[in-house]
Symmetry: C2
């Protein structure tokens, strides 16, 4: 009997009507019934990715789709540019290097955002680069990169532009086709308001040309297998049917609400979260904050304790820092099925925890500032 | 409003108490609560695999765990022996070849079982073989291989013995450690009575030595990452938390019932299924039938129609043949959460469908023979 409040950047809370679909009896995946669901899901995914291209569903964590975006594009020895600004950007480096790619880094220190001009420079210096990899919203630090600007630059070259939109999709404006993103990947447990276990990938015509030339070894993540099965509304391997049935429901929820409306709501939550942090004297972290998670510097030495106490004493899960930022920042997520009141729960409990840990704050001030922002829109 | 009856070799029906767990609110995966569940699940998996070694959970279809059993063991150019007797055995060949392995086949025609003596011969002729891959229950044809005998042979060599136990685990006696299996893989949607989306792998000490020498590129399926996280009851990537929470419940169901009792029950169901088929004049297919699926030859030209009509008219899902066996056999599965009555539903509807398709049978005869077998134990 411990009530839980999830304010983490994945997994996120999911609507009860979506959760209940997971409990329905198992459907066989080679039936007309399942094919109809899969087709509906595929169309819904095209809407959330804002793409006319096919979106494939892979059973696995978001990292599986990231790896698919490497093994289907590169060959050992290929040059690729990675523009990382945090833990998830660094994952592109690790995956690409695992497959023998020659990685040119156009990365920036954690907390900063990727500089489009640096990517332009890297592309000029490396005209043989096969691909540019970056991250949309980098949740490890809480920043957002200008994918539109980078997409415009990469589109003028032969390189394929590949974006990790795992945490940002649905939570913040993202337009795969309009922004010249050749490959976008995402996962189920963030903005899509679903349990973890599914990952997604979509490829442009330009990306498919790179796929034809890729020689990296692959089987489970061979995207051609997914494309072939997609034509008959199937998956190449047994799909997680219960997750896909509940995905159909969450996509319905998203479509009914409208992507633009969701973007506005998360934007407002982000504004309120930033106001709350500032009112409590917590300095915001990150060059350009994203709209799905808010990072702030923790008072010296107690970053880990804040996260632990919030969870153990009040059932409120937020995230701490990763890598070098461990213990140094706290991260409040506002993605997935989350409302204004959830954010206020987070701030109220944060105020109690800060007080308990001996930080001098004025109780109620963070909540008040967040309320003010929410009221003023 | 169409009632469905699932008699397919995966996904299989799951107990309602297991299904309902999937609908519980999302737990964060980096918490003490989740770690306790993961630990419990890991112990339950050791029980079902009958192993003292660690069992790792990978988010993905069963094929993901199969690929993990290749990329963590072989390097390009390595010689491996594959003993296939069907579609899933052939998958070992495809995966191994995708990673540049030099595959020596000790395979037999579909419907036959792998011959231990052939493997002994192949090992003698290829003393440099790094691994022997085979399948426990080959559901594409309905046979079971003598893993114990093969394990004894391979254990006397330097090769690692790797078994696909995706469909047979829990459904038929399988003992990883006692049978000298170095790597066993499985999936969630068969005997484990769970939705698809999880796959499992366990490795012996001998297998770990091969892992140290493997140079195949990998990231998501890098088993060392799973071993490292396992030490703190975690997974390297966000796990499908709802599936793992429901896995805890299905493992509880299995432990309460007892593996030996489950093996006996499926054995009886298999006996009844074979009796039913024979009574309807359908010749059994496969050299040594397994206990999780029963295959029979379909009357000339109507194999596909039987499967389609059963599904569309009566909501009964069974499986047809794959590959060259397409349209030639029908397969009744008795794995997962399935009772005696489910099997009788299958035979009753099969009798109606055969009659509708013009096959001369005596209605009730298949059901009667199955009842007889079930009553006599």
């Amino acid at each position: 009997m411990k009530k839980q409040y999830l304010l983490t950047p994945g997994p996120t809370p999911i609507p009860p009507e979506v959760a209940l679909k997971e409990a329905l009896p198992i459907l066989h995946h080679r039936t007309n019934e399942f094919a109809a669901i899969y087709k509906d899901v595929a169309e819904g995914l095209q809407y959330v990715f804002q793409t006319k291209n096919e979106v494939y569903t892979i059973a696995g964590s978001g990292t599986a789709a990231m790896e698919a975006a490497v093994v289907n594009v590169v060959s050992a020895g290929d040059k690729v540019i990675v523009a990382s600004c945090g833990n998830f950007g660094d994952r592109w480096v690790k995956i690409a290097q695992s497959y023998g790619a020659n990685v040119v880094q156009a990365s920036v220190p954690w907390g900063n955002v990727v500089k489009p001009a640096e990517i332009e420079k890297a592309l000029k210096e490396n005209p043989d680069a096969k691909a540019v990899y970056t991250t949309f919203t980098e949740t490890s630090t809480g920043v957002v990169n200008d994918i539109k600007a980078i997409g415009e630059i990469v589109s003028k070259t032969d390189a394929v532009f590949i974006v990790d939109a795992v945490s940002g999709l649905v939570g913040q404006e993202f337009k795969t086709d309009d922004w010249n993103v050749d490959i976008a990947v995402s996962g189920s447990q963030k903005g899509l308001m679903l349990a973890p276990g599914l990952s997604f990938i979509t490829l442009s015509e330009k990306a498919w040309k790179a796929v034809e030339n890729s020689k990296a070894p692959k089987f489970y993540l061979d995207i051609k297998k997914y494309k072939k099965s997609y034509a008959t509304n199937e998956t190449p391997f047994t799909p997680p049917v219960t997750l896909i049935v509940s995905l159909q429901e969450s996509l319905k929820v998203i479509k009914e609400k409208g992507l633009e409306n969701l973007w506005s709501e998360y934007k407002l939550l982000a504004k309120a979260a930033r106001a709350g942090m500032k009112a409590l004297g917590l300095e915001l972290f990150g060059e350009i904050p994203c709209e799905v998670v808010t990072s702030a510097k923790a008072p010296e030495g107690i970053g880990g304790k804040i996260v632990k106490t919030l969870r153990e004493k009040y059932g409120v899960s937020i995230a701490g820092g990763q890598g070098d930022l461990k213990g140094k920042i706290i991260r409040f997520a506002h993605m997935g099925f989350i409302g204004k009141a959830d954010l206020l729960v987070g701030f109220a409990c944060l105020e109690m925890v800060l007080t308990e840990l001996g930080v001098q704050i004025e109780k109620g001030k963070g909540v008040a500032a967040a309320e003010e922002a929410l009221l003023n829109g």
